[in-house]
Symmetry: C2
Subunit: 197 residues, 2 copies
């Protein structure tokens, strides 16, 4: 046995977390041993508290402390636009822009038939249920990946026949990017969706 048992157990627990390999798990575990006990308790409590007190907003399925999240509850947000994202963390990226004033809908994943993820595994039914409201536009903001594109296409086919405008985030060159470094798919999109000046 290379490590004392409680240390080995802690390393094993850290290794199970995403993006943490054996080396990082060791470094984190030794860091915990050097932390004051109060600080360790603070991390442990934050984990349990977040897990226990957070639920999904009944409307948009975003992570929330309350039945209805702060964004859905905000009377200043317009209710005619819904921006559909794959994960709750995608909302942060968009909110940082301080540009979009509608509401969101979190799918909690993307269609992936290979891994057995169909529309029933995502929050699609909950999205459709919201379209009875005064919704005028659905912005499909899933990632520009195979799964993201597939999911956007699937939702567009479902929503457009209901007479609701369905849009998708533009693809193209990242601002400040160099042609030289752009991958082929990005460059192809940038060319295909070129705008007249």
């Amino acid at each position: 046995m290379l490590f004392a048992r409680p240390l080995a157990e802690l390393i094993a627990q850290f290794e199970r977390l995403p993006g943490i390999g054996p080396k990082s798990a060791q470094r984190l575990a030794f860091h915990v041993l050097r932390m004051p006990e109060d600080d360790v308790r603070r991390v442990a409590d934050a984990m349990l508290n977040a897990k226990r007190s957070l639920k999904l907003c009944e409307l948009c399925q975003n992570v929330s402390e309350h039945e209805i999240c702060e964004i859905c509850n905000d009377p200043k947000r317009n209710t005619t636009q819904i921006c559909v994202v794959a994960e709750a963390r995608d909302i942060t990226a968009l909110e940082r822009l301080n540009e979009f004033k509608g509401r969101y809908h979190v799918l909690h994943g993307l269609l992936n038939p290979m891994e057995g993820i169909g529309p029933e595994q995502l929050k699609v039914r909950e999205l459709i249920a919201r379209l009875a409201e005064d919704v005028e536009e659905i912005i499909l903001a899933t990632n520009p990946t195979v799964e993201g594109d597939t999911t956007a296409l699937y939702l567009a086919k479902l929503i457009k026949p209901m007479g609701i405008k369905t849009t998708r985030l533009a693809h193209g060159m990242p601002v400040g990017g160099e042609l030289d470094f752009a991958d082929n798919a990005t460059l192809l999109s940038a060319l295909e969706y070129r705008r007249e000046l």
Copy 2:
């Protein structure tokens, strides 16, 4: 506010850990929300348990569940050799070799005058106290960095006059390494400590 309060608090706690940036902290926090509550409790408990139950071995200062660690307590380890390392995790690297059969001594750091770390901040006094035993050789296995070299030199000056053989891990080309890719300091060491064949 971009995240619900308990989620923001968890992300903040994760960000304070070493090697975890804002992105990783977010990813970890969302992962915790998806974990079963029992698994979250297991991680939290492992942290608190490790922090509470582990102490430093009274002899070698390694992290241990007991007053004397398993290595120091092992009658099969010879007591004439002590391998001095900077951190407890360095012991793991050496134990993996299954080659060294002596005991260890953990300094818990390296000399670094710029950061105010002198011999009093390290477990140097505890090392010297152990030399009254039947110790014949001290192997200085600190890293080949400025701090590691300084610490090794300092200890050698202290220990050699006591008539105890004092050695240092060899520097040189890593096995399987290519000259082309070796940095200058390594190559210089490899040249300086060349062996006759």
